[in-house]
């Protein structure tokens, strides 16, 4: 057996041995917030695991309050909050200033096809637009986290312009929600 044969033979054995490890059961995240707390090297961001306090008369739960609106919409290829949604942003800014213990996460979304990661960036841009608007209105930076869902969680799944417009959206989620 010459060198080449030996290498080939060894490679084959190792190749097959490499595949021989046992199959672990698939991991299933236990819950939304719990899974992120397993052994990790970076401190998890608090995405809102504190208990929601059902305060009587909290305008957050009043369906007639402007706070009931949690979505902000954008024009195509834009991350500027539309003027029609400014009252929504202003209402949440006012609430967050009055409730310094409350935090929000802004989830940006996109309508586009194409690279999932690039769309994540575009959704982030929208979420950051809302975050900046809140901060301009006096909300503390520590109360707001801007994140992106990209094109991964479209609310509307059709292909009409109305569907696309529905997905050019950022949602405001309060901690505990």
């Amino acid at each position: 057996m010459n060198w080449k044969q030996l290498v080939l033979g060894t490679a084959t054995v190792t190749l097959l041995a490499a595949c021989a490890s046992t199959k672990p059961a698939p991991v299933a995240p236990a819950s939304n917030n719990g899974a992120a707390s397993s052994s990790q090297t970076t401190a998890p961001v608090d995405t809102g695991s504190s208990d929601m306090k059902s305060v009587q008369g909290d305008p957050l739960h009043d369906p007639n309050s402007p706070l009931a609106k949690r979505s902000v919409y954008f024009d195509f290829d834009s991350s500027t909050v539309k003027s029609s949604d400014k009252p929504t942003v202003e209402a949440h800014a006012g609430y967050l200033k009055d409730h310094a213990d409350r935090k929000v996460i802004i989830q940006g979304n996109t309508d586009a096809r194409g690279s999932r990661e690039y769309n994540l960036g575009l959704g982030q841009r929208r979420a950051e637009g809302v975050k900046r608007s809140l901060e301009v209105l006096g909300v503390k930076e520590s109360q707001v986290e801007a994140v992106s869902l990209g094109k991964e969680k479209p609310k509307a799944t059709g292909n009409t312009e109305a569907d696309f417009a529905e997905n050019r959206r950022a949602d405001i989620l309060y901690n505990g929600e």
Partner: protein
């Protein structure tokens, strides 16, 4: 071409795949260039129908066809089915157009095992090119068939075969997401191993260079977080979970670091994190979206996507720092770059006239060609031997995985699967674990 008379025994000790008995159906679309393929006859191995669970040569033929390099010669009209080299009537096979012929047999040995032996013979020169013997339990014929295909591929092309390499992809079924790993030659939800299940999206799986770990982005905590999971144990941990979004993991070739995209500055920028933890180091500096990092094989450069000039284009920067250079100049939307193992070719997706096509760019000359024609294609990645590109497509209204040769002349539709197949990535050659 090796003319050695090889003989070795690989004693296979462990069960590998749970064989379900179902064949993965592959559709091979030959776009052109068939004449340049190597014509091979793989004749049925003696007793392969009765002594192993699955006949070997259909698997070998499928593998070789998948590569786009081989054309199968039908020897069914040749009455004599050769088992030993002395049985081969070379003029008949030459007349049938075969450049090489593979023969073999399955014999019982002690302890309920079987000995599978094969030889690859050059028809014109009437010489053996390679051979092998494998003593295994009868349920392990399938993996031996893939290994034989690897040996034939290497004997003919001089390149390492990829028939035992793995792919990862996300399978979406309604609101259920599964991260699945399977052999490139057996992409099939029954055979694939499910690594992660979630009710929230999973995107951007990325292989560690040694094939032992996957990094991916999971949305299970209301935002994108980068995880690394050990494939053997299932253990995982969040390696990038900073305020904002964490995404687009790409392993450095030495496996010690991940390039990731973080948004702590208020926009998507590329950082380097140690896989064992520590503070991230910022790599890209723009007020735009910088994303989809991909290392060069030597680890010195990163290709990435940026919309700093308007639409998304591909750029390159040194890991050590310095200005980025723009790499793509045609088209208004170029995304998802990956560098070939030899560092000479870039593959990426270009949006053009409503199509999202897989492109290949020669990095020395700048020449670009399309590897896919129609529909909506996603996230190309190179085979570890650099000879093919894997991508997802929804051309038929349903997403499927394709593997194409680098000249686009041969495309294989890998059979899939109920649900949407997303974000595929071709894994490395398997290393000892």
């Amino acid at each position: 071409m090796p003319r050695i008379r090889t003989l070795f025994k690989a004693l296979l000790m462990f069960a590998l795949l749970v064989s379900t008995g179902a064949r993965a159906e592959m559709t091979i679309e030959i776009v052109g260039g068939g004449a340049s393929k190597h014509a091979i006859a793989v004749v049925p191995f003696k007793d392969e129908g009765s002594r192993v669970r699955e006949a070997l040569t259909p698997i070998i033929r499928n593998d070789l066809e998948l590569s786009g390099v081989f054309r199968m010669v039908d020897g069914s009209t040749i009455a004599n089915v050769p088992v030993e080299p002395a049985d081969v009537r070379y003029p008949l096979w030459q007349a049938a157009g075969a450049q090489s012929i593979a023969i073999g047999k399955v014999e019982p040995v002690a302890g309920g095992q079987v000995k599978i032996s094969f030889r690859l013979l050059d028809v014109a020169q009437k010489k053996q090119l390679t051979s092998g013997e494998f003593t295994v339990t009868p349920d392990r014929g399938r993996e031996v068939a893939h290994t034989i295909a690897d040996m034939i591929y290497e004997a003919i092309t001089g390149q390492k075969g990829i028939f035992n390499t793995r792919v990862v992809y996300v399978l979406k079924n309604g609101r259920n997401y599964m991260l699945q790993v399977g052999l490139i030659t057996d992409v099939d939800s029954n055979r694939a191993q499910t690594i992660l299940r979630s009710k929230e999206p999973i995107i951007s799986p990325s292989w560690s260079p040694d094939g032992r770990y996957l990094a991916y982005v999971s949305f299970e905590s209301k935002k994108p977080v980068v995880w690394v999971q050990d494939l053997a144990t299932g253990q995982r941990r969040a390696v990038a979970n900073f305020k904002g979004s964490n995404s687009a993991p790409a392993w450095s070739p030495d496996g010690s670091k991940l390039a990731v995209v973080l948004t702590t500055t208020g926009n998507s920028q590329i950082y380097l994190v140690n896989t064992l933890g520590g503070a991230p180091r910022r790599l890209s500096y723009s007020d735009a979206i910088d994303t989809e990092p991909a290392f060069t094989p030597d680890g010195s450069q990163i290709y990435f996507v940026s919309d700093r000039t308007g639409g998304p284009q591909i750029y390159r920067m040194a890991v050590s720092g310095g200005a980025a250079q723009r790499v793509t100049w045609q088209g208004s939307y170029n995304v998802s770059p990956r560098v070939s193992p030899d560092g000479r070719t870039l593959t990426f997706i270009r949006r053009e006239a409503g199509r999202f096509r897989v492109m290949a760019q020669d990095l020395a000359s700048g020449d670009v060609r399309a590897l896919s024609e129609n529909g909506y294609n996603e996230r190309p990645s190179f085979a570890p031997n650099g000879r093919m590109v894997l991508y997802a497509s929804d051309a038929g209204g349903k997403s499927v995985l394709y593997a194409t040769t680098l000249d686009g002349s041969s495309k294989v539709k890998l059979a899939v699967i109920n649900g949407e197949v997303q974000d595929p990535s071709w894994g490395p050659f398997n290393n000892p674990q």
